[in-house]
């Protein structure tokens, strides 16, 4: 479904991606892990065409999106939903207007049907009856759940999650993880998340890719990666800042 080949990306003199290649198949739940500032979010933005690589190719269903202009990309992006790190809700719109943004913009359905789908999406993220509220009235966890409702209301094929649990307390984070898992299971979407939260990675993925020094260092089933004895993966997964000296 998504193929990435030899993607490089630099900002000024700093090279963030140094030849990333990966494949994501339809219906998978993939998590990309790696250190903060290691380029995970940058890589995620390449998958939806929000950033263009300096070199390399990103193909979505066989179409090279790196060769497309912004208008052509709009068609490809209809396949995607994305939950941003800080939710990125439109702060001048109510929750209901945020969630229904795409449906109203497309104008393909009646207002009654649009309202029904908004309510359905808000129910799915366990936030019924808050449609009239403004984003500024919501807590961090609620904002993320509204962001998730906005991302899934139009039934995308692929949902991207940028650090979905960052900044949340453990209970709110667990709630978001369960919702992501439920979205994957019930809507049969392809789920791609970047995170450095290992508990979250365990819950929401069936495959993990590790980004290290600008490249995909390792990939495999979730349990295999989380139990790996490779020193780089082991240190990251277990949060060890310095290499342990052998006894």
């Amino acid at each position: 479904m998504i193929e990435v080949r030899d993607v490089t990306k630099s900002f000024g003199t700093q090279q963030v991606l140094r030849g990333v290649s990966l494949d994501i198949r339809r219906g998978e739940a993939v998590v990309i892990i790696g250190r903060s500032g290691g380029g995970k979010s940058i890589l995620l933005k390449h998958l939806i065409g929000l950033l263009q690589p300096d070199s390399g190719i990103v193909r979505v269903d066989g179409e090279d999106i790196t060769a497309m202009n912004e208008r052509s990309l709009l068609r490809v992006r209809r396949k995607y939903g994305m939950l941003f790190q800080m939710a990125a809700l439109f702060d001048s719109l109510t929750v209901e207007e945020n969630v229904g943004f795409v449906l109203r913009r497309q104008g393909l359905e009646s207002e009654t049907e649009i309202r029904r789908r908004i309510d359905e999406a808000l129910d799915m993220v366990e936030l019924p009856g808050i449609g009239h509220k403004m984003p500024s009235e919501l807590s961090g966890g609620m904002r993320k759940r509204v962001g998730l409702a906005r991302a899934i209301v139009y039934r995308p094929e692929i949902v991207l999650y940028d650090e979905p649990t960052t900044g949340l307390d453990p209970i709110a984070a667990d709630n978001i993880d369960r919702l992501i898992r439920r979205v994957w299971e019930t809507l049969h979407v392809t789920s791609i998340a970047v995170t450095h939260d290992m508990k979250s990675a365990r819950t929401i993925s069936n495959r993990i890719l590790m980004l290290h020094e600008g490249r995909i260092y390792s990939e495999g089933p979730t349990s295999e990666i989380l139990e790996s004895t490779d020193p780089v993966i082991y240190r990251f997964v277990n949060g060890i800042s310095t290499p342990q000296k052998s006894q």
């Binding site: 933005k45 990309l73 992006r77 209809r78 994305m82 809700l89 439109f90 795409v102 913009r105 991207l160």
Partner: protein, 259 residues
Amino acid sequence: MPVQLIHQRFRSFITQLGEVSQLLMESIGSFRHQRPSWKDFLYQLQFIGVKSQSVVITTGAATGMVLCAQTFLQFHKVKMDTATGAVVSIGMSSELGPVLAALMLTGRVGASMTAELGTMKVTEQIDALRTLAAHPVDTLVVPRFLALLASAPLLTAESVVVGIVSSWWVGVNLLGIDSAYYLVNMTRYTDPPDVLTGLIKSFVFGAIIAVVSCHKGLTCQGGAEGVGKATTEAVVVASISILIVNFFLTLFLSRLFYS
């Protein structure tokens, strides 16, 4: 100043000019892809047109009164008191009205647009818009662009009328100019091209404010500091552009109407 720095600044200027021109073309070309949202347009029209009235009315009134007093003081020396109305009317219609209204709109509306779009950019709301398959130009720029094109000439006309009425009041009631002579000379020497010149200029200035402000907002980088910097740059660039373009428009339109 080292040659390298001059080269860098010139390159940056040309790049930005290219980006602004591209945004202008994209805004015009947007109509082929997406019909503008009436709701967004009317919201912007209300924000730009209705809420800017106090600013442009005050500017027009103050300018008209000062111009009347200054002109009278000079003309009185050569016994041309009654020509004051004509000078104020032509000056307000073709030059001061459109330029000062545009500068006030740059400060009130342009700064607000840049700050709003800049904040959306740094909080990833623009990226969110793009992921929802909405083009930022169609959704954010076009309603603002159209609202400014529609409201700038109307606000300028309002400012000019208020300026002329204020100057008449000052001239007649404070400076002792005969009302009949004031009005006759004003209407005799003010031609339709003077009014048309002002309206065409205000239309162009409206486009400059919209495109420069939206460009600075959409290309804003960093956090709060970036938004502040982009807002300042938008006001400075739009104001200077208005003053420069005004000079060339004056030359062009005077040749067009009076040659």
